[in-house]
């Protein structure tokens, strides 16, 4: 009998919930790493959103009825949720600030003039 099965039996005898499945170890580690990346990338705004979403997804793929989630998955979910929320907040507030503040709009207009030779309004009109 291997170590995992032995521990499962011990847990059941002591009335503890079963140990997390070792086959989900890879996804658990990925969830935690994505959660950490999501939190760290908050300063960039947009990049923390995919990292947070992936962290949550990986953790949800390891769920099993009657079995507690790996501690790395739990950490991953929490970090990913915080990172995702912060990322969405920073992205949305940046967009709102840029498009409502006339000085930022002016800067963006000048940037489009330099890059594409047309103003911001003309660029989006031709694109749509």
């Amino acid at each position: 009998m291997d170590y995992y099965q032995n521990q499962q039996q011990n847990n059941e005898m002591n009335g503890n919930s079963p140990m997390p499945d070792p086959r989900f170890r890879g996804l658990s580690i990925a969830s935690m790493v994505c959660g950490i990346c999501s939190l760290v990338l908050c300063c960039t705004g947009l990049l923390s959103i995919p990292a947070g979403a992936l962290g949550i997804l990986f953790a949800l793929l390891t769920r099993k009825k009657g079995q507690r989630m790996n501690s790395m998955c739990v950490a991953g979910i929490w970090l990913s949720c915080v990172g995702l929320a912060l990322g969405i907040f920073i992205t949305v507030s940046s967009i709102v600030t840029v498009f409502t503040d006339p000085s930022y709009l002016n800067m963006l207009d000048q940037m489009y003039q330099q890059m594409y030779g047309v103003s911001l309004d003309e660029f989006w009109r031709s694109y749509l």
Binding site: L27, A53, L54, L57, F58, L61, R63, K65
Partner: protein, 255 residues
Amino acid sequence: MIQYTSRAALKEKARDQMAGRYGNAILMSICRGLIVFSLGFAISMTFSLIVTVRVLMGGSGETSLTEYLLLTICTTLLSIFTGVFQTGITLFYLNSACSRPATVANLFYGFKYLFKKSLGISTVLVLLNTVCLLPYDICVFLLRSGKGYDTVTMAILTIIFIIVGMCIYIPLNLGLSQSYYLLLDFPQYSATELMKLSLRIMKGHKWELFCLQLSFLPLGFLCMLSFGIGALWLAPYMNMTHTLYFLDLMQGEHH
């Protein structure tokens, strides 16, 4: 009375079966994606080249309705041909569900062994999609070209056509959804017999399967937030759930 497995139990079993198997599944998705993308790219590049040559010879740069329909026909034929991959993908997940060896090479099973029948099933499924959504596609094309058509009327027509198209397409697609699984279980049957059998076994189960597919929407939203990267893991999970749904359905049929 036949007791079918609940949605939650099917999904939990799918997660369990996919543990440690995501690597091969993702590799297979990438291989198929690359092949389909390359062929699609070749077709769209050919059309772009035709338009470019026409512009260089002093003609108009706009795509006419005829050219758009020709492009639609080419992409439909491509979809029919690449639909044969679905046989291999189905085999991969059936093997994984039954704890048999499942490799990336399974992807080409439909081309090697059951090409004609796979092509038959793929033709019906793709033509069903094209025919149901063609009025909507034409309306969208005319709306975008803006050639003197009343925008509001075209927009209303577009919405009506998509609703009517989906109301016809979704139940039929759900009815025919088990065809590839049945092809692998009963390779001696013809494509028509397999599709009729699929329609028969799905009688009374279409709503169940529709709800099962809708239950993946929250995870689908997470995949959208990850710019599609999460779909590499979500698609195998969904495919495995559908495979286990089919196995559960067939168990009920045997009883």
